[in-house]
Amino acid sequence: MSPPTPHSLLQQLHAAEQQLNQIIVGKPQAIRLALACVLAQGHLLIEDIPGVGKTTLAHALAQVLGLAFARIQFTSDLLPADLLGVSVYERNEARFHFHPGPIFTQVLLADEINRATAKTQSALLEAMAERQVTLDGQTHSLPAPFFVIATQNPQQQIGTFPLPESQLDRFLLRIELGYPSPAAERALLEGTDRQVLLQQTSPLLDTQHLIAAQTAIQQLTLSPALLDYVQALIAHTRRDTQFVYGLSPRAALGLVHASKAWAWLNGRNMVLPDDVQHVFVAVAGHRLISKHSHRNDFAAAQQILTQVAIP
């Protein structure tokens, strides 16, 4: 197979995006952010109430991109072994044999991640960061690309283990889906069942193409003017006294990667301040904690964009 041209890659991704928009109706912004997250090789956190299509989005994304998909429902009794796999003694061969857990997939949906204990959470997050699993002294690489979509229910916090800031930092983007608009909801109610739609969906990309797109995005260069803007935004969060901490260098890198992916998805090879502004809240929102409420303040993160002049 000949290497795909950047143009055909973009076309494929737009087709995939269109497909996703037919399944999740009325959320083009969230879908594009989710795609950008995959393309920037980051992990995605979806924070919303049940029933707005978090799982469907994750599933559809895997399906459209032609990736292997696995889902784990996180509960308080879920153990790391349930996630990573176990070594079982094989009598016939007289040795231990590793049985990989559900994490050995390309798209992992970690549903209600905050319901599991810290131990299990950290096992997942370690795998996310290293893209490998170490068990009994043996290291097992995860498939590439490896992409985690975690969901979190923000409202029912009883019996949950909220992710600490350090772990939230590992998610590149955090999005909300929210209720659909009345028109979108009507289309949803009138249309075919989502499960049927999902099954009918055929992959529009293969792994090789996805990796090619990821590489193309990585290779985009940034102008000094844009880096000035990114640094101004980051510096502002560190100066602003209403947040407990400013954004970390990892967050700054994430902002750059996500902006590149966004620009590429919009068919541009140059990254503009507009791209940074589009992804900023998704990148920064879950990393900034308000001093007053000790919770994430997305409105304040949005406000930062109006407080920082574009150099």
């Binding site: 003017a225 502002h236 990254v271 503009l272 407080q307 574009i310």
Partner: protein, 645 residues
């Protein structure tokens, strides 16, 4: 009413520190334990744990206010007047601080801080007080800025606050010069009798000047027009004493108002004096004044006095003649008065000169002092006997100007020569930085005047006979070598030349401040305005100057702000784009600082659809030139913007 934002604990603490700074000048002027108590309350507030600060019950500050008012009333026996009024203000400020919760409260605190800073000038108007007030002003503006914009760092907010205060200076200067001044303050400032220092006009007793020797505060400053007289001629005349009770000298009881006729024998010396307030009604002038301010008069003792005590720094010009004689008869009965049956040895010594002519008796007295091995010291043994003059002249033989003047006057009176004591200052330190003399309390001196038939009153300085260097070289030079340095004020010690130069410069600045800021009173203002052609505050011309000046300053600022480039773009693309944005101002289109070029373009297209095509072109070229660093786009951008109407 909408609730205003609650203050964070940090903001409350900042307000506490601000109030501490603002109240500091006031606390320094209050009774120690009252200011200690109020200061402690402020410090407590600043040091409280953040969560406690928000939990102070509302009633607490009411209680605090009531208690502190009672306390102030207890200390001052009143709640009005300068000291008590200021104490009330400070106490209420502190009570208000304790109930400060919201931004609205904080605004009230800031206004109080401004007011309290202004009030601090009631205590005095010295440069350091002005500096402290300036500091408080900057701090208040800084806290006000931080309340409104939480994002500011401390450094930026201080810088901005200083900038704001500096911008207010032109307006302040205009109002300082032109705002009508009252000849006398609306409210009379009570004289603080507690702090009376310097020369005393009430009596002169042994030891009264000795305390001044340790005091290097400025008594007054003098500037000569033309050549200054020599150091030995700088006798600054102050209170005159002519009643001796055996121990102390007292001023004359009956003043006949007219001075004896004076004949000047030497050239006239013109000078101006800036006298520090000493709460008494005599002025100082070079011996002997011939011209002096109208508010003052020369009494029969040739002492320059004015009706009211000098409670504020006073600047006046005077002329003196250094050689003079008086006509007419002295009040010889008063000038020969001696307590009966005291100092027998002195009296018998004086009577041995009875046969000589009066002038000869004076010379004999001086000769006797010269030959009897007297020594000049600042630490003489204590005189305890009943016949003090005898004890001094025949036993201890150690003393300073006061002892010599006192003893010599008694000696002359016993020899039937009318004599009296004149106190004042001798010499002074020349400050080359401001070309004036500084006369310190340490320069206090006492000398004798004798009345001789042909010549009238003549100055005789017995100290000069005993220790000529004291007069010739000035106090500082004659003593530094003889005394341990620590017995002298630090400034007078000779080895500290660097510190001396610094203090001289500092005093020159203080002098400038006094001459240009403090001395600018209603009279000087009128003189200045008359030079500008204004004779009356209620004239059109005055109004024209005031309003014109105001408009000029405000207009200047307006022009500055309109034509100021907020930040000069550094690269070519943004400079070109800035030019394009300037062209769009014509259509009332302004790019917000946080607005991206594309967002701005969308807005512009909606507002000016007919220009949409060129706007899109320019925006795309700019983005390519700036963010893809495309040099051909830059060239095209230049052309496109030039074409853009």
């Amino acid at each position: 009413m909408s609730m205003s934002r609650q203050l964070s604990p940090q903001e409350q603490q900042q307000l506490g520190v601000l109030m501490l700074l603002v109240c500091l000048p006031h606390l320094m002027m209050q009774t120690p334990w009252l200011s200690g108590l109020l200061g402690l309350l402020l410090l407590t507030y600043c040091g409280l744990r953040p969560q406690w600060r928000t939990q102070i019950p509302r009633h607490f500050s009411l209680l605090l206010a009531t208690l502190s008012l009672l306390l102030v009333n207890q200390v001052h026996q009143t709640l009005i007047g300068r000291e008590a009024g200021v104490a009330v203000l400070i106490a209420l400020c502190i009570s208000k601080l304790y109930e400060t919760r919201s931004v609205r409260d904080a605004h009230a605190m800031l206004l109080l801080a401004f007011f309290a800073t202004g009030i601090s000038f009631l205590h005095g108007q010295a440069p350091w007080q002005a500096a402290l007030a300036g500091l408080a002003l900057v701090a208040t503006v800084c806290i006000a800025l931080r309340l409104e914009n939480k994002v500011l760092t401390l450094g930026i907010s201080i810088k901005t606050a200083i900038k704001i205060c500096l911008q207010a200076i032109p307006l302040a200067i205009l109002l300082f010069i032109l705002f009508p001044r009252l000849p006398a303050p609306l409210w009379s400032l009570p004289n603080e009798t507690a702090a009376r220092t310097g020369l005393s006009g009430d009596k002169m007793s042994p030891g009264s000047l000795n305390q001044l020797i340790q005091d290097d505060r400025i008594a007054f400053r003098a500037q000569f027009n033309g050549m200054a007289p020599r150091q030995t001629q700088l006798y600054w005349r102050g209170p005159v004493f002519d009643q001796f009770d055996g121990q102390s000298w007292l001023p004359a009881t009956a003043h006949s108002s007219n001075p004896p006729p004076i004949i000047a024998r030497g050239p006239q010396v013109n000078y101006s004096i800036t006298l520090e307030p000493h709460q008494q009604n005599w002025l100082l002038a070079l011996d002997l004044p011939t011209q002096f301010p109208q508010s003052a008069m020369l009494n029969s003792q040739l002492q320059l006095i004015q009706r009211s005590p000098i409670s504020q720094r006073l600047r006046y010009t005077a002329s003196s003649t250094l050689h003079w004689q008086t006509l007419g008869n002295a009040d010889t009965a008063a000038a020969l008065q001696l307590p009966p049956s005291l100092n027998p040895k002195t009296v018998s010594l004086a009577q041995s000169w009875q046969q000589q002519a009066p002038a000869q008796r004076v010379q004999s007295g001086l000769q006797w002092l010269k030959t009897q091995h007297f020594s000049y010291t600042l630490t003489p043994p204590l005189l305890e006997k009943k016949d003090r003059i005898d004890e001094f002249l025949f036993e201890s033989k150690q003393g300073y100007c006061e002892h010599y003047a006192s003893a010599f006057a008694v000696l002359m009176r016993a020899a039937n020569v009318p004599a009296r004591i004149v106190t004042g200052y001798q010499g002074g330190q020349f400050n080359p930085n401001g070309n004036y003399y500084m006369i310190r309390q340490a320069d206090a001196h006492a000398w004798v005047e004798v009345w001789l038939p042909e010549q009238g009153w003549q100055r005789v300085d017995p100290t000069f006979v005993v220790s000529p260097t004291r007069i010739e070289n000035g106090f500082e030079n004659s003593f530094a070598s003889r005394l341990q340095n620590d017995a002298l004020p630090s400034l007078l010690s000779r080895n500290a030349t660097f510190i001396k130069a610094m203090r001289l410069q500092l005093d020159a600045w203080v002098n400038h401040w006094n001459q240009w800021v403090i001395a600018y009173d209603s009279q000087r203002q009128l003189n200045l305005l008359q030079r500008l052609g204004i004779n009356d505050f209620l004239s059109w011309r005055f109004l024209l100057y005031l309003c014109g000046g105001l408009l000029l300053i405000l207009g200047g600022f307006l022009v500055y702000f309109l034509h100021r480039n907020p930040a000069q773009p550094t690269d070519m693309a943004s400079q070109l784009f800035a030019r394009y944005c300037k062209k769009l101002h014509r259509y009332q289109l302004y790019q917000a600082p946080h607005e991206t070029a594309s967002q701005f373009a969308v807005r512009c297209q909606i507002a000016q659809p007919e220009l949409a095509a060129s706007m899109i072109e320019i925006t795309n070229l700019y983005l390519a030139a700036r963010y893809a660093q495309d040099s051909s786009a830059l060239a095209q951008l230049k052309i496109a913007i030039k074409r853009f109407a």
